[in-house]
C-alpha cells in the first residue's frame, strides 16, 4: 500500500469514527511539501494509536 493510500485509510477511519476537526502546528522554520506533511501527520497519528501519547495536566 502506498503512503498516500495508508494516509487516506487511517484518516478516513478517524473521520468515520467521529473526528470532527483536526488542525496542525507546523514548524515555521521548515519548508515541506504536502506529501511530506501527510507522511509526518500519519506518523504522528500512528504514534497516538500505538499509545505513545501520554496525557499531561499542564505545560506551565
Amino acid at each position: 500500500m502506498t503512503q498516500k493510500a495508508t494516509f487516506d485509510e487511517v484518516f478516513s477511519a478517524e473521520f468515520e469514527s467521529g473526528l470532527k476537526d483536526i488542525k496542525f502546528f507546523i514548524d515555521p522554520s521548515k519548508k515541506a511539501s504536502a506529501d511530506e506533511l501527510c507522511e509526518d501527520a500519519l506518523g504522528f497519528q500512528n504514534a497516538i494509536k500505538e499509545g505513545r501519547a501520554i496525557e499531561v495536566a499542564a505545560v506551565d
Binding site: 487516506d8 484518516f11 478516513s12 478517524e14 473521520f15 467521529g18 473526528l19 470532527k20 476537526d21 483536526i22 488542525k23 496542525f24 502546528f25 507546523i26 514548524d27 515555521p28 522554520s29 521548515k30 519548508k31 515541506a32 511539501s33 504536502a34 511530506e36 506533511l37 501527510c38 509526518d40 501527520a41 506518523g43 504522528f44 500512528n46 504514534a47 497516538i48 505513545r52 501519547a53 501520554i54 496525557e55 499531561v56 495536566a57 499542564a58 505545560v59 506551565d60
Partner: protein, 213 residues
Amino acid sequence: MIEYVSSLLKTYHSEHILPEKFSDIPAEDGVVLTRLLKPIIEHQGVVDRIHLYETDYASKFVLGMIQRRTEMTGMYSGDQDVAHIYFQKRLNTCWRRFVVCKEMYHCMIDRTEDSRVASLGFLHRLMEALSEDTSAVLGVFKPLKSEEAAEILALETLAPVEYRLQLVDDYRSGAISANEVAEIFKIPEDFVDFSFQRHYLEAMSSLRKPLLF
C-alpha cells in the same frame, strides 16, 4: 478575531490579576499561563473539555495538533465536545506553551462547519495549503485562515500588547534582545521580532483597545 484575545485576557486578569508593569512579570513562569487559560477557554469556547498529551514521536514538521470529537464521557453526563491537543515531548517550555495556546484557540474561533476539517478532502486541502507549494490552493480556505489566526491570537495572548508597548523602545534601540523578550514572556524567540514590527504593533494596540491597563 482579536476580540477573543481581549475577552480572554479580561477574564484572566479578573481572576488572576496581571501585573501592570512588565518588570513585575514573574521571571520563572511568563505572564500568562496556559494552565489558567484552559478553563477559561473550556467555558467560553466550543468544547466542554480540553486534554493535553505529549508524544515521543519525533516528527519532522508537525510540532503539534488538535483533534476534536464528540464523546460519551459518562453515564449521566451524556455527550461532550472534547478537544485532544498533542505536542512533541522534545519541545521546550516556550514552544509547548505556544503550541498548546495556538491549538486551544481553535476551540474559540472554529465555530462554523466551513472552518473545520472534518473530511479527507478538506484534510488534503489543508495539507496543500500548509505546504511550501501554497499556489495549489485557490480562493479562501477557512481552515487555513483559522490556522494563521490562531497563531496570531496565541502570540497576542502570551505576549500581550500592553507589555510590548512598554518594551518597544528598548527592543528597537537594542537595549533588550529578542532572546530576553522571549524569556520574559516564555514564548519562542522566532516570533519576537514580528511582534514588534511597527505596523503590526500599531494595528494590534489599536484593535485591542481598551487595553487592560
